[in-house]
């Protein structure tokens, strides 16, 4: 009995050849890659077609025509402009605010630790829910923020309903949700910086602005780049905040890429145009990511060289 139990596993032992092993080890990554590549290539395929679900008889390859149409399509240029404006405004303001808050909370003590945890709360709220919350707060009839706006002398302030203030309103919501992300990343960066340069500057009596511009900021740049990279990628692909608040309106003030592509597919069932829009968005995201990653690597090399 005991012989049988001890000898059985030895008999079933499976040997993997040395040549096959690397492929087997990388199989999970390969499968994940396939899971990403199949939808991606399908989207590329669709983007090269005249493909509208409501006109199946018209379906056929038009190769780059969907992309060429964008050149003369004012709606596309508007989408590009709105997406870039939104991404730039949100990321710039979030970086400024996030850095400011991180600097204020840099010193480790109970109060700062507590505040930094509390400030993470918006990040834990689903952006769509946050948008609905802000939609209520900015309701001109009963919203608390509309009430404060009236107190400040802004009578009949219409927030996201007014084309003049719609962008500002959704940017504020984005800042409320995502500034904590940048803050926590930069706070971790600030607290991990080596102490020696700061101690040396303090001994020499270097003014604080000089320390910030010449020591803190350059050393924090990799963290800033990382935060910017994540936020730019996410911001340029914004959907939930804008769709939940305005569905891309008023007019075409907030028709960012994802909203436009979503409406093109689910409402207009224009698969070809929707896929082409998403391919352009992918190209922009890919380019920006490359720029950021190259700069980040360059900085890392530089810092290693300096070290």
């Amino acid at each position: 009995m005991s012989d049988a139990t001890t000898s059985a596993p030895r008999a079933r032992r499976f040997k993997v050849s040395r040549q096959l092993l690397p492929y087997l080890l990388s199989l999970p990554a390969l499968l994940t890659c396939i899971g990403i590549l199949i939808p991606f290539l399908t989207a590329v395929w669709y983007s090269l077609q005249r493909y509208r679900l409501s006109q199946p008889w018209n379906r056929g390859f038009n190769w780059g025509q969907n992309y060429l149409n964008f050149m003369t399509d004012s709606a596309f240029w508007n989408t590009l402009k709105v997406s870039m404006t939104y991404a730039f405004a949100t990321v710039a303001l979030e970086l400024l605010l996030g850095l400011g808050i991180a600097l204020l909370l840099q010193k480790r003590n109970r109060f700062n630790n507590f505040v930094s945890i509390m400030l993470l709360m918006p990040l834990m709220t689903a952006p769509a829910l946050a948008s609905l919350m802000w939609k209520l707060m900015t309701n001109p009839g009963f919203g608390i923020l509309s009430y404060f706006a009236t107190l400040l002398g802004f009578e009949d302030f219409r927030w996201a309903s007014d084309p003049k203030t719609a962008m500002m309103t959704v940017v504020i919501v984005d800042i409320w949700v995502y500034t904590p992300f940048i803050m926590i990343l930069l706070l971790a960066g600030l607290r991990s910086l080596p102490k020696q340069p700061f101690e040396a500057a303090a001994l020499d009596g270097v003014p604080r602005p000089f320390v910030f511009w010449r020591i803190t900021l350059p050393m924090l740049t990799p963290f800033l780049l990382t935060a910017t990279l994540f936020r730019v990628i996410e911001s340029i692909q914004q959907f939930d905040i804008i769709y939940a608040m305005t569905q891309g309106g008023p007019g075409d003030k907030l028709t960012v890429f994802q909203v436009e592509a979503y409406l093109n597919f689910f409402q207009s069932t224009n698969v070809g145009r929707s896929a082409a829009l998403l391919m352009i968005l992918w190209a922009i995201t890919y380019t920006l990511s490359n720029i950021f990653i190259k700069n980040w690597l360059r900085l890392r090399e530089k810092q290693r060289g300096n070290a």
Binding site: S54, Q55, N58, A160, S161, P250, G251, S268, T269
Partner: protein, 480 residues
Amino acid sequence: MSKKEKQLAEAFVAGKIGRRELIKGMSALGVTAATAGVLVNAAATQALAQNGFDWKKHDGTSIKLLLNKHPYTDAMIANLENFKVLTGMDVQYDVFPEDVYFDKVTAALSSGSSEYDAFMTGAYMTWTYGPAGWCDDLNEYISDASKTNPDYNWEDVLEGVRKSCAWNGRPGGALGSDDAKQWCIPLAYEQNNLTYNKRIFDANGLAVPTNLDELLGTAAAAKSAMNGGYGIGVRGSRSWATIHPGFLSGYTNFGQVDLNVGADGKLTAAMNTDVSKQFHSKWVQMIQESGAPDWSTHTWYQVGTDVGAGKSAMMFDADILGYFMNGAGNAEAGNLAFSAFKANPDAAAPTPNIWIWSMSMSSFSKQKDAAWYFLQWATGPEHDLFGAREMDLVNPARSSVWADEMFRNKLSNSYSGYVEMHDVSAPGASIKFTAQPLFFDLTTEWAATLQKMVAKEVPVDEGLDMLAESVNRQLNEAGL
């Protein structure tokens, strides 16, 4: 059901006793009004089984439905047990909220999934689903005596509603034409008319407006009389749904159309005529002067809840929205009243555009005959009557139900002017859009243009010319 309860229900279905006697008798037996309704429908279902039609043909079959969360769905589910008893079939269903419902339908059908045998839809959506080959022409079933209950009485469905669900698939083809395919069958429908707050109107000596000019004046007067409220609720979000209710109903009352259909079948934009520009100007002025401050984000939900909460004095939207807002749980419950609305003083009658919640059959279903049994039951006269009398299946799509005294009394007792409104406007009620594949693109752009006009970003004349140019370009690109 006890023998006595059964006898009472059967006597009522046979017309031997009235509702009063039924309720009195059921009360004596300790049965509540709601339960009595289900018992009566069970008796009606048994009567249905006695007309020689083989309701048990698909006994043991199970079908699955894709449904939208709605009072019509609630009525269907409340009565479902009777269908199961009648046919011996099992019915599974998924219910999704309206916000995501049509995304789910599009995803399910475009993938060719056979998970769902039948689904709820609006007639506009079938202009995509039909040509795409996602739903079947139900004429084949309606006209097949071996598959359809002889008492189904298809002609009983209101003509404008019935025809609005049928299209021949040719862009610009008339709805309900002889060669049209019946892509869906109406469950119930909504007309767009005026719902007004009688309390506010009486307190401020306001008369119910009878045309667009009066509507503007009354809305402005109501706004100045109300403390913090606004005059009129209409939809304003950047969506096709902003165009189809009050806006299009008023627009077509002036003899205007969205698109012209040429002799060669080509479509061209028709929204920049002089009459259309005048109508748009007044509509825009009405919103600017008396509409909701956040109008551009208003969907049916905000329009309805505001009138139900007394924030707006009236709304030009779906009559059933007013019906629900007049019910318990709303601040203004019991204060809302209804009026048919003819925007054009020279028009003979109102011309409300309609939204129709309907049932369609998935082309990917593997048990279409069984699914048809469910469809004909769910849209049949017995269930329609049950829904109208006992649940909130308003507006029923069948003329026999509108003739039912019990239903009419139910409405007249609690919904001031509702029956009269319906009777006046129903003859002119139908879908007023031109059926074509770019429906959602063009109407969404129309709504976005309206938003720009209200925000004074573009003058009405210029905005409509730009819209017409863009519409023509898109039609041309799509070969329409």
